[in-house]
């Protein structure tokens, strides 16, 4: 009967209860939406950076990461790729040879990142073929390259034109070549779009005079959650005196820091929102207590133990918070699902500003359970903290005074 009593007490003042539920639910929707957008953007940023640049894990020559030059390329052991691909949850091992070059077309020159790829393996990492926005699908060979749209725009060239690449090859060799542009590619990551030149791995090895060499073997995982277990397996498979295994967190500390800083600002915004809602909740709990002082006094007088009365009020608070959270979930899940499947692309005005900071101009949303569970925990935690007031009031309640004051 105590639970029944608590349930009915919630609905004693329907209007107030509904207003409280709506305000908490609104906070849950708003904070879930904000959090989903934030986490979705982080996932996208990580995915763009990690998948397109480094892979979640990478094997390279010891010291390469600190000095990323062609001279730090390595000759992969013959069975390395097979061994890596044999590890559980590894989707692919993608060989790469990367270095910088000057790209020229007519009178324009720009620094470019020449990436030698294995087109079939690369499908698992950058999926270049899907990123082609102009030109024929993936017809690169020793004479043809794909370049980023940003680079093409800067050089004012289009598909069919010839690009000249000049660089320093392996151990100081001269590297120069001209290639026909067979297609333009566009990535979510502006820095890649603005400087990438893709060519087949053998062509890149020939261009840089680095026969059979790789700068990295990127490891594509089936899911980011498998990174640490795969890393542990890789460390057993790889000769760690010559090579090193790095995960994306070590390779991209700036990305992690950027996300952490942004995350803190997002959390501060959420906290401000919850402080406002907290006052609303406290107002309700305060009313629930003060308007029932006489009744509490009567209940204590007739022989109800204080803890039972506290349990009833506590149950009311928890039930109220639970209903509000459930209503919030019921409304926010479809809303966020919609945005998850239909990310918000920003207009060209904002796009330029975003891309200046190397950020893709699109708001993507996350459907990770933590988006919702974290809101539930926050509301419950707030309810527990704010619920201390009525529980304390009951603990200190003198039935005689309560009945006198509550009349």
């Amino acid at each position: 009967m105590l639970l029944k009593l608590a349930w009915r007490n919630i609905w004693r003042n329907k209007r107030r209860t509904i207003i409280t539920i709506v305000s908490i639910a609104f906070a849950v929707i708003l904070s879930s939406l904000m959090r989903s957008m934030q986490l979705g953007s982080y996932e996208r940023m990580v995915d763009n950076s990690v998948r397109f640049l480094t892979g979640y894990l990478q094997i390279h020559k010891k010291g390469y990461w600190d000095e990323q030059v062609i001279d730090n390329a390595f000759t992969p052991p013959s069975n390395l790729q097979k061994k890596v691909e044999g590890i559980a949850n590894v989707e692919a091992a993608v060989p790469r040879l990367e270095s910088f070059a000057l790209a020229s077309y007519q009178t324009k020159t720009k620094g470019a990142l020449v990436i030698g790829i294995d087109p079939q393996k690369e499908a698992a990492l950058t999926n270049v073929e899907d990123k082609i926005v102009q030109g024929k699908p993936f017809e690169i060979d020793e004479k043809h390259v794909l370049i980023g749209t940003g680079l093409a725009e800067y050089l004012k060239l289009s598909v069919g034109d010839t690009i000249v690449l000049i660089s320093q090859g392996y151990h100081g060799a001269n590297a120069a070549g001209k290639y026909a542009v067979c297609g333009l590619v566009q990535f979510g990551l502006p820095q890649l779009t603005n400087q990438a030149v893709f060519m087949p791995l053998p062509s890149a090895q020939y261009f840089f005079g680095a026969e059979q060499l790789l700068t990295a073997l990127a490891v594509v995982t089936e899911h980011p959650k498998h990174v640490s277990s795969i890393e542990a397996s890789l460390l057993q498979e790889v000769d760690t005196t010559a090579l090193e295994v790095m995960n994306w967190r070590i390779m991209m500390p700036e990305l992690i820091q950027g996300i952490e800083v942004d995350n803190i600002s997002g959390i501060i915004m959420l906290m401000l929102l919850y402080v406002v809602i907290g006052f609303g909740m406290f107002g309700t709990f305060l009313m629930m207590t003060t308007e029932r002082l006489y009744e509490f006094g009567v209940l204590l007088s007739i022989g109800m133990r204080r803890y039972k009365l506290q349990l009833i009020v506590f149950a009311e608070i928890i039930m109220l918070a639970m209903i509000a959270v459930l209503v919030g979930f019921a409304l926010s899940i479809p809303l966020i699902s919609y945005f998850y499947h239909h990310p918000i692309s920003l207009s060209d005005t904002y796009k330029e500003a975003f891309e200046k900071f190397g950020i893709e101009a699109v708001y993507v949303f996350s459907l990770e359970p933590i988006v919702f569970t974290s809101q539930a925990w926050v509301v419950f935690f707030m309810a527990l903290v704010l619920g201390i007031y009525p529980l304390y009031k009951i603990w200190k309640l003198d039935p005689v005074n309560a009945m006198r004051e509550g009349r």
């Binding site: 004693r12 006489y294 009744e295 009567v298």
Partner: protein, 234 residues
């Protein structure tokens, strides 16, 4: 030869005094009150406002502690009990009827009567049977599933009285039970309590200003300035 059977004393107060220190000047609400209430009494405690009626009732009911003196209920000196012991004592031995908002508004009449038995951890069957029996006795069995807001003031007080009775207490303390009732309702309520007093030998102690209650009482204790001025048995 005529035999006199000594009646059992239910409540005995010995020199109880109560001083409030709420303001700078201490207020003495009760001064050396000695009172004995026997089983089956129908007693009204009367007196002007501030005479100490409610304080006396609260002390007898274990809701307030005296500054001095003893209160013995049955064989127990409740002036020395701890708060948790007092709560249990009230639950099992004392019935309360208050002036207003007596009932839990979100429970039905029957649930209100059952509530006190629930606190006493009685079985569902016993709660159900006793609640229905008591509701029937006061003519409210058809209102069993009705919430207090749908009952008249008089009906609410009748439910409050049977809720007090439901726990099978030693006596019932009623603080101005008719204060918010019209004459007819007050009359009905008093008749009902008088009948219970007669038929079940239940002891009733009222604090009241109401002449109708005073007229029905078989003993009237008049308080003035915290002291018993008259104690009249009719």
């Amino acid at each position: 030869m005529e035999t006199t059977v000594a009646k059992k004393i239910v409540i005995k107060t010995e020199n109880i005094a109560k001083t409030y220190h709420e303001s700078k000047i201490p207020v003495q609400a009760l001064k050396d009150v000695d009172l004995e209430i026997e089983e089956g009494e129908f007693t009204a405690i009367v007196g002007p406002s501030g005479s100490g009626k409610t304080t006396l009732l609260n002390i007898i009911g274990g809701l307030d502690k005296p500054s001095k003196g003893k209160i013995i209920i049955g064989d127990t000196d409740i002036s020395n009990l701890k708060e948790s012991q007092l709560i249990d004592f009230r639950l099992h031995h004392i019935g309360f009827v208050f002036q207003q908002y007596n009932l839990i508004p979100v429970l039905t009449a029957k649930e209100n009567v059952e509530f006190i038995m629930l606190l006493q951890k009685k079985s569902e069957k016993e709660m159900e049977e006793r609640a229905m029996k008591l509701l029937k006795e006061v003519g409210l069995e058809d209102k069993a599933k009705v919430r207090p807001s749908e009952l008249s003031g008089g009906q609410q007080q009748r439910v409050a009285v049977i809720r007090a009775l439901a726990s099978r207490p030693k006596f019932i303390l009623a603080d101005e039970p008719t204060a918010n009732l019209d004459s007819a309702s007050a009359g009905n309520l008093l008749d009902m309590m008088a009948r219970m007093n007669r038929e079940e030998n239940m002891t009733f102690i009222f604090s009241t200003h109401d002449q109708r209650v005073i007229d029905k009482a078989r003993r009237v204790v008049t308080l003035e300035d915290g002291m018993i001025k008259y104690d009249e048995v009719r």
